[in-house]
């Protein structure tokens, strides 16, 4: 109610021509649209499929495992090798480099816990299931199915950390220990929430009717935001506080990976999801009600899924290039140019297209980039994790 009154007073002030020097006119509809991109930060993640989600012991174990190279086949690669804290939890490379160079970019882990599909192709329906894949994949960490269990049993600190998190000493069931390793990894990753940004301050001020604070937001970013939620309709897919629907789209990026071979994207991911023993329909889902498996139960493969990739969140986007699932665009400017010039022929005509060539002017493109950069902020340096069992 208070927010509504403030909104009304803000609009009334605008109507009588009292305008701050550096604040554009924002309609009630625009303010509502801007408001949907917050508040920030969101409440902490609580994943019912993961019994150590949100628990201090699970998070601590997960952070140590995240930095542990002994989980990999050659003992040289950890999760942190590709998901580097100093590089926005990615690696800055166009294509990820595991045991070999891969076909996709390393996705950032910022705000990863809030998704409902994981990986560029959505082959994981939980963060812990997704965390198993690189551990086993011969092209990535190549750890094999028993390595996590062996580590948890043989290393006193990990055994102790495991007991604190899961309530018992590591047993002999290697698959169970692999899943528990992934659940601890997921508990840690879910704590990676990006910092508040200049946009968040503007959004909150705008909703509160605080024109003075709102006017500190750069004009170029304001113009870019208006485009983002208006004419360009970027917020149809990049919606909500994290600026993503969490779903998948074909935005006209070619998806050949080499001659004669394509990356099928979501279409392939759905096949792997259905075949995975670790999906939420399986025995490792800790949610006895099974209600969190509804999406997995009902999702169906469609022709449109071929070549679709997950819509990434945009927080910290300016600090995290290269861009697109395959790192094919080097800069934010390239990304905006893509959307400005995308060929509609690469997109199937079926109803109103979500993606269309925007035909942006140079100024509009610069404004959109300014807005996107306002979603960036410096994250606090992360202290080294405390010992598991001092």
């Amino acid at each position: 109610m208070i927010r509504l009154l403030l909104l009304v007073s803000l609009l009334a002030a605008g109507a009588v021509g009292v305008r701050a020097q550096h604040l554009l006119d924002w309609s009630a509809e625009e303010i509502r649209a801007v408001g949907q991109h917050g508040p920030w930060p969101p409440p902490p993640v609580q994943d019912p499929s993961n019994k150590v989600s949100g628990t201090p012991a699970g998070i601590a174990l997960g952070e140590h495992l995240f930095n542990e190279p002994r989980l990999s086949g050659d003992g040289r690669m950890s999760c942190a090798t590709c998901h580097q804290a100093g590089r926005e939890w990615s690696d800055g490379l166009a294509k990820a480099r595991g045991a070999v160079e891969l076909d996709r970019r390393t996705p950032s882990l910022w705000n990863i816990g809030y998704l409902h599909w994981f990986g560029w192709d959505g082959a994981g329906d939980s963060l812990w299931a997704q965390s198993i894949r690189p551990l086993l994949d011969p092209r990535e960490m190549n750890g094999g199915p028993t390595r996590a269990g062996e580590l948890l049993r043989s290393d006193a600190a990990f055994a102790c950390g495991y007991e604190r998190a899961f309530g018992s000493r590591p047993g002999s069931d290697d698959e169970r220990l692999l899943v528990d390793t992934a659940k601890a990894l997921a508990a840690f990753q879910a704590t990676l929430v990006s910092p508040r940004t200049g946009f968040d301050d503007f959004r909150d001020a705008l909703l509160a009717g605080d024109r003075e604070s709102a006017s500190r937001y750069p004009l170029a970013a304001q113009r870019g935001l208006k485009l983002f939620i208006g004419e360009a309709s970027c917020n149809l897919c990049h919606l909500g506080p994290r600026f993503t629907s969490g779903e998948f789209g074909d935005i006209g990026i070619p998806f050949f990976v080499r001659p004669g071979e394509v990356d099928p994207g979501r279409h392939g991911g759905l096949g792997r999801l259905a075949a995975s023993p670790f999906n939420l329909l399986g025995k490792y889902n800790d949610d006895a009600s099974g209600s969190n498996a509804r999406r997995t139960r009902h999702v169906q493969r469609q022709h449109t899924n071929f070549g679709e990739f997950r819509v990434p969140g945009l927080r910290q986007v300016g600090r995290g290039g290269p861009y697109m699932h395959n790192g094919s665009l080097a800069t934010l400017e390239d990304v905006i140019r893509h959307y400005s010039e995308v060929s509609p022929d690469r997109l199937h005509s079926d109803g109103i297209p979500l993606v269309r060539p925007l035909g942006l002017t140079v100024e509009q493109s610069a404004d959109l980039v300014a807005f996107l950069r306002s979603l960036d902020a410096e994250a606090l340096a992360r202290p080294s994790p405390a010992p598991l069992c001092p």
Binding site: P259, V262, P264, H303, D345
Partner: protein, 272 residues
Amino acid sequence: MRLFSLVLFLVFATGVSTARAADELPIFDAHMHYSHDAWSVVPPNEVVEILKKAGIKRAMVSSSNNEGTKMLQDVAPGMIVPELRPYRSRGEISTWAKDPTVIPYLEDLLSKRRYRAIGEFHIYGADADLPNVRRVVELAKQYGLFLHSHSDADAVTRHFQQDPNAKVLWAHSGFERPETVREMLRRYPTLWCDLAFLTAHVSNGKVAPGWRELFIEFPDRFVLGSDTFTPERWHYVIENARWSRQWLSDLPPDVARKIAYENGDRLFGGAP
């Protein structure tokens, strides 16, 4: 003994494999494109290999700028049914209907080459009454060709208003609900529907309610399609054929055969 067992296994395995190939439902694919951006990344010989692996015995192909269709005909004349597209580049989807150079381009090609259809073209609502589209309907009548129309029901209705005897292949069945498709099929006896890029007619591998009744009522009016609208989509053709056979197996065998290839053969035949 071990060698004998191996030979026996190979003979048996080969026999099973041959029997399986013979049993595999052939497919007439009535909705393929081979446009300019595909030529270098999926060369003609590779296209033919994909068609063979997919069990597609014949495919109706259009391409922007129509040279792709010719390239495929040159390497596999018996497999490719040519369709004339009013686009010289893929960028003409939204401009062709008002472009004065399109009709002379079509008339020139029709005077030089033989086609089975004009399309796939994109047109919606009242735009189907634009002079270019009217002329395309006339050309189809003059040359006895199908109109392969990616349209809403309104545009299809306008095609028939212009030529009540037009033969129209409705691309993607208009992405319409089965009730609308039924109404259109009942109203226009020379309307056929392709199922390219549709998934609504299948649910968990079975034919969805509404569509099943439609296929049973009109078994002669549907054909399959892959819609290779980007070069990458050529690498989806085999998977699409496998998926199509899966849902077709949920229909009575005679209906499945008609939709899989008999309708395509009857309507579009082989190479002209």
